[in-house]
Amino acid sequence: MEDLMIEKTKSTPFIYLSQVTNSFILKGESFPENSAKFYAPVLEWIREYITALDVHTKVIMDFEIIYFNSSTSKIFMTIFDLLDEAAMAGKNITVNWKCDENNETAIECGEEFQEDLGYLSFNIVTK
């Protein structure tokens, strides 16, 4: 499985998904013109990755998003839902929702994502 890297643009975040390091980084702002189209390869990669993932591998996923639009929030929910199901199946996945301590909006949104999850380890990390 190949790594997936998408460069940052004005309206889309930097994305790096690696099976080699078992790390996932999503950083920047997200308000694509077509969120479904933009995130389609990301969702596909994650689905394939977590299907093949064994329960002994520790996976860290870092989300560092300053601003995101409504359709992105729906995509994120789909991603967290997938990860939550994998965690329910015993897979060791941690999501770090990273934000600036002064960015109340990002913190509140992180808390909102957190509420919907039952199994996934979801940390709000402020700096």
Binding site: Y67, F68, N69, S70, S73, K74, M77, D81, E104, T105, E108, C109, E112, F113, E115, D116
Partner: protein
Amino acid sequence: MKINDIFAKEEKVITQAEQILKSEAFTATECAGYYGELLDEYRKLLKQMRSVVKMSDITQGKLNSLSMELERLSNIDELTDLYNRRCFNEKIAKEWFYASVSQSSLGLLMIDIDYFKQYNDNYGHLQGDKCLKEIADTIRQTVNRPKDFVARYGGEEFIVLLPGADLAGCAYIADRILENVTKIEFTDVNNNSYGKVTVSIGGNSMVPCENIEIGILISGADRALYKAKKEGRHCYRSI
């Protein structure tokens, strides 16, 4: 409206579906199972929808407050906290229109600090900035009717819009400004004196009519200011 309230219809659908399941309307247990799974999926998606709406509201609220702050910043002069020239240009156009409709006077004062370059040279630019701030505050406190409008027009120039004021009204306000500015004591925390400052003021007032443009009102006040400077400074003149 609470988020729970806007999804009342969806909640009703869930309640109806639960009642259908309980009523044993499905003869085959297999069908009831599928229906139950679909219902769970619907609950989950509804929960997601609630979160999306809530996050969207949070973000929009933040964007709105940022937008208001940007609008405020685009209208305010950072140093003196008075309105800036851009805002003044918009304001005078509106007041000119109102005065034209109601056929009332629109008064204008143009104020310039006397020998400000020398003040800067003597005490430094930081003290010069403090002087500008103090004078701006004094003008703002002196001109305090609700519709009066004070702006920083340029470097050491201020402009005051006085809706409804004729030349006598302009002269009255100008005299109070002249008097109040001379009362300002420029000192630092150790009570060291930073001199005295005076201003010159030019005034003009007009009742707008079809053939007159706003520029005539402004250039008239500008000419009057020049006259005040020429006739010794620290005084008010009108044309």
